[in-house]
Amino acid sequence: MRKHWGSGVIWLLLFTMPFWMLAVGGYTELAARIVVLGLAAMALNFLLGFTGVLSFGHAAYFGLGAYGVGMTIKYLFPSTAAGVVIGVAAGTLAGAIIGALIVKLRGVYFAMVTIAFGQVFYFIAFRWNSVTGGDDGLTGWGRQPINLGFTTLDIQGNDKAFYYFVLALFTISVAVMALLLRGPFGRTLLAIRENERRARFLGIPIELHIWLSFVISCFFASLAGALFALVNNFTDPRFLRWDQSGTFVIMAVMGGMRSFWGPLMGATVYVLLQDYLSSHTENWMSFVGLVFVLVVLFFPRGIVGTARTRTVAEP
């Protein structure tokens, strides 16, 4: 019962955000950024929290989604929808190929290889100046209004329309992930997280299921990346870099990786903190680094995990 109540509050806040964001000192774009990075962290957590597999290279798929949408709109056709589809396809395909190479590895090894593979696309984006804009990022494009046939969605000029466009995709993604996790397939992933050996000897082909989970996670990560590029009307090679991957992991851990909504909370805290710090101090990186250290030392179970322990301890 309490769980439903919690989800209800989250949805209510998400759906009303543009109306009170200004009043509390924020801006609509900040709201969109929270939702998009929240989606990325939840996508990562599908793998990290619910399959027990640590990927430290999700920025690659996020960034491919971003470059996919940017390059499609800039070079192919000025359509937001086509851009998102191509971006997501690119990120998912890369995830499928890299995933197949690494599903046999575990633990530290898996993490290291995901980090290293994540960098390939960064270097490509960084080096291939003529096409990707290199270090300066991909500029000279922007999100396009979406023609739905009966009406046109002006996500280009209207901030609120764009926010609800992002929120609609977020809602669908979150619903699909929840559905996946609630069914038999989702339970096999939990089984792998809990005890890989037992899962294997129940007859679950572990590598296949980890691969599927990896690809699903990459799918939603690249969708988040595509949306993030639309939020900024710009694509930066740093979207693809290892520090971005680490950011997704800290969001999930800070929020609570055993909880479905935890990563969204982690993303919210992170985005607000970064927004505040980067406008108040030159040395925001040190503070962000300090947050990493403090979370690991004092809040390894995250906001939701810590809150849960408290309520159990004091009934």
Partner: protein
């Protein structure tokens, strides 16, 4: 027709030969115990049958399929299920959830995104039946990491049983248990063997358990098969006594 046929299998790790040319045949419905002093290669032998790793030499057949190098999840599909010396379960889930995952996988739903109402009811009924059979009704909705060793072991055996195996492999099912718990597990195993006509191969240290349960016994010593026979024959065998006493001394 035999259910399990192991033909001259060997396994070495580096220069150490853990199992040397062991041959064994198990009939449908038979309860076979594999015994031997510590370091006799029992667990290694077991791991080759369940597919943990393949033998370096020899062949293994199950119901006329060659399974020598088959991955473990496909052996499960053929009907081989196992438990481990150190109980392997899903610690943060309840008994019911543990069994539910096993039943879903066994009924070929591991890739399903959801279940129809009809399947849902059938799976729940099957889970309930397994909980009952394992004597776990009172603990069904508790997290398994909180349960006693004996209840955890019973959960693990029931998970293996959920796979509707034709051959159940039990690796020291009573290891580290008190008399009471041992008694419950022995009773459970006997019930599975007698009522369900399940073929079982079990590795065990506790002689009371073995002589109580086994139809036939295979004795391993230093990686080789030393003797095979009924419990009576094994009890009288001088070679077996020498091997055990030799170890004791």
């Amino acid at each position: 027709m035999s259910l399990l046929r192991v033909e001259g299998v060997s396994r070495s790790f580096g220069s150490v030969v853990a199992v040397k040319e062991v041959t064994m045949t198990v009939q449908p419905g038979e309860l076979r115990a594999v015994i031997g002093p510590n370091g006799a290669g029992k667990t290694t032998f077991f791991n080759m049958i369940s597919g943990f790793f393949p033998p370096t030499k020899g062949r293994i057949f199950f119901a006329d399929h060659e399974i020598t190098a088959m991955p473990s999840h496909r052996r499960v599909a053929l009907g081989i299920a196992r438990t481990f010396q150190i109980t392997e379960i899903f610690p943060e889930l309840t008994v019911r959830e543990n069994l539910r995952i096993a039943v879903e996988v066994a009924s070929k739903h591991r890739l399903s995104l959801w279940l129809s109402r009809e399947n849902e009811t059938r799976i729940e009924a099957r889970v309930a039946a397994l909980i009952e059979l394992g004597g776990l009704s009172a603990k069904a909705d508790r997290q398994v990491s909180e349960l006693t060793h004996g209840a955890q072991r019973a959960t693990e055996i029931m998970m293996a049983l959920a796979l509707e195996p034709r051959l159940l492999l039990l690796d020291e099912p009573t290891a580290g248990m008190g008399d009471d718990e041992t008694y419950h597990i022995v009773r459970l195993v006997r019930r599975l063997h007698k009522d369900q006509k399940l073929a079982i191969v079990l590795v065990e240290h506790d002689m009371r358990v073995i002589f109580n349960l086994a139809d036939r016994i295979t004795v391993l010593a230093e990686g080789s098969a030393l003797a095979e026979g009924t419990p009576d024959e094994i009890a009288k065998s001088e070679a077996v006594q020498a091997a055990y006493l030799g170890k004791v001394r």
